[in-house]
């Protein structure tokens, strides 16, 4: 692509002339730093600074209801959290939700992407509709599905032949989790399918044609040509969605408020900090939540060898 070559050339030339044009590159360096400064300041103000503060507060027994009784505890809050079965329960719930929703989204999203890639008629309508779940407030979609699954007002019981009419979806763990996951999957599959559609567009038609001429079946073409060629798109989509799913909060808040053991780790943290004003233990949970997100990101990047840098440079 000529557009990507040109800046690279320029950069080379620039490097070669670095000594000669040192004033110029200094000015450019200066301008560059000035232009990104506000963005960096804001991002650090709202993330790095509070995170450090959480790290600090997590070492104290600190409740907002009795702030004067703040007491240094060292790592005791972490010990409390890590030895509490509730912490592990919510973490397990969150991992469970993450794995199931991302798996479903990947399969359904890919099917949607294949259809959108091939569809000739009504392209605009389909693309417009697929953005609607993406744009709708999560809280609203949570309500919609909560009412849909409700045994009092919903239509799900009436439509599903294998479910009794009076079945209470939110009465026990399994079905309540299912309802939460349906809402989550409905809302985010379109995002997944758009990312996969962009990946699909990068698979060369010539290669597919050649495989077809060589007698490859549809299934073989899918596994041997299409999927390997969209590897980076799939991995980026999985990474983004997995981390997003791990933060699940809105749907649980709206649909069950954590009842029947459906609490997620985000929800537990929120309850400690905002509802019970336990800033000490809440901060410890915040730090643990952040660390687990880093671990998941690290694992996904390692296991699938996602090369974000190269994925970026391709643009």
């Amino acid at each position: 692509m000529s557009t990507t070559v040109a800046p690279d050339d320029k950069r080379e030339v620039r490097k070669a002339n670095k000594v000669a044009a040192s004033d110029r590159s200094k000015a450019e360096n200066n301008l560059g730093m000035k232009l990104v400064a506000p963005a960096i300041f804001l991002m650090l103000l709202v993330t790095a600074f509070p995170m450090l503060r959480a790290l600090y507060l997590s070492l104290f027994d600190y409740s907002l209801t009795s702030p004067e009784e703040r007491e240094f505890l060292g790592l005791a809050n972490y010990w409390t959290a890590l030895t509490d079965p509730l912490f592990w329960e919510t973490t397990l719930n969150t991992v469970f939700i993450m794995v199931v929703t991302v798996a479903f989204e990947l399969v359904i999203g890919f099917a949607f992407a294949m259809v959108m890639h091939r569809v000739i008629f009504a392209r605009g309508i389909i693309r417009t509709s697929i953005l609607i779940p993406y744009g709708i407030i999560t809280v609203v979609s949570g309500f919609a599905w909560q009412f849909a699954f409700s045994n009092n007002n919903g239509f799900v019981n009436a439509w599903l032949p294998f479910v009794e009419d009076g079945f209470n979806w939110f009465g026990q763990y399994g079905s309540a989790m299912a309802a939460i996951m349906v809402s989550e999957i409905w809302k985010t599959t379109p995002f997944m399918s758009l990312l996969l559609l962009a990946g699909l567009a990068q698979v060369s038609e010539d290669m597919l044609e050649a495989a077809k001429v060589d007698g490859a079946t549809w299934w073989q073409r899918l596994w041997k040509v299409i999927l390997p060629n969209m590897r980076s798109a799939i991995m980026v989509a999985v990474l983004f969605r997995a981390l997003d799913a791990y933060r699940i909060f809105d749907n649980i808040y709206v649909m069950t408020a954590g009842a029947q053991g459906t609490e997620s780790i985000s929800f537990l943290t929120y309850r400690q900090v905002i509802e019970q004003f336990q800033l000490g233990i809440g901060s410890a949970l915040s730090v643990l939540l952040f660390i687990s997100v880093l671990i998941i990101a690290f694992l996904i990047v390692k296991i699938f060898r996602v090369d974000l840098a190269s994925a970026r440079q391709e643009g």
Partner: protein, 279 residues
């Protein structure tokens, strides 16, 4: 394409449409059921006979001061956050796409980390900080977090767009006798505008959709945005909400999103995919 394939695609397309629109149709249907019907239980998709409410739920919702205030808060906060965030992101993305400078990698890495940040883990310290600064439960108290959380998306989307702009044209225009300001304004701005606009739409979606900050950093209707207001619409019992009224509120709060999607569908798709896949 064989006939079998064609049928498959038609069926697939219909399934996509049903998938996307079913819950929307459902919540619209719910918003036209009467509250009495809902309380007595009215399972089924459409309002049953005699259970319809016409526009009553909408009239009730729009007569509710707290709801109107929340809509106003959401519009104001989201628009201001979007405007400021896009301006700052444009500067940063221009630098990232066009200039060589120390710290370029840092900006991109920071943006990536923030995009993955578990929002809830910041709520505690921000709650504490904002109370100290005196901006708890105010518009700026939400605008600042929204900005910093929409910056990564905006920076990535914009730098992807900016990288595609043939910047040499600016010099060409100068050679042809334009001043550098003219060259920038007449050549670069029109090329960059669609990207900036796309980033603005995505940023607006994010701000409009936020829930965690909305419920944690507000305590009154001073700044409470619409998702938080909807969730507080009635008491704390999550199992007995006035479904039809809530549905009407949900429809009203979704209208701005639908309008934006209808108007700018192409741009949104381009922005989402270029920001996330190509970078």
């Amino acid at each position: 394409m064989s006939a079998k394939n064609k049928i498959g695609i038609v069926v697939g397309a219909v399934l996509i449409l049903v998938w996307c629109l079913l819950p929307v149709a459902w919540i619209i249907s719910l918003s036209f059921k009467s509250q009495a019907a809902i309380t007595n239980g009215s399972p089924g998709f459409f309002p049953s006979e005699g259970g319809g409410a016409g526009w009553q739920n909408y009239r009730d919702v729009l007569a509710d001061d707290q709801f109107l205030r929340a809509i106003l808060n959401s519009i104001g906060i989201s628009l201001i956050a979007t405007l400021l965030s896009v301006i700052i992101a444009t500067l940063a993305a221009y630098a990232v796409a066009r200039l060589e400078f120390t710290g370029k990698k840092f900006v991109l890495t920071l943006a990536l980390v923030i995009a993955m940040f578990p929002v809830v883990s910041l709520v505690g310290p921000l709650f504490d900080m904002w109370r100290t600064f005196g901006i708890y439960d105010t518009w700026p108290g939400l605008i600042i977090p929204y900005m910093s959380f929409t910056l990564p998306l905006a920076i990535w989307t914009l730098s992807a767009f900016f990288r595609e702009i043939p910047w040499e044209m600016e010099q060409a225009a100068q050679v042809d006798g334009a001043t550098s300001w003219q060259a920038f304004r007449k050549v670069i701005v029109p090329l960059a505008a669609p990207g900036v606009f796309t980033a603005a739409i995505l940023t607006f979606f994010f701000a409009w959709n936020d829930f965690v900050f909305g419920i944690s950093l507000t305590s009154t209707e001073n700044a409470r945005p619409i998702p938080a207001a909807l969730s507080f619409f009635v008491g704390s019992d999550p199992f007995n909400r006035p479904a039809s009224l809530l549905a009407a509120g949900a429809v009203v709060s979704t209208i701005p999103i639908i309008v934006i999607v209808l108007l700018f569908q192409r741009k949104i798709v381009a922005g989402l995919t270029s920001g996330a896949v190509k970078g």
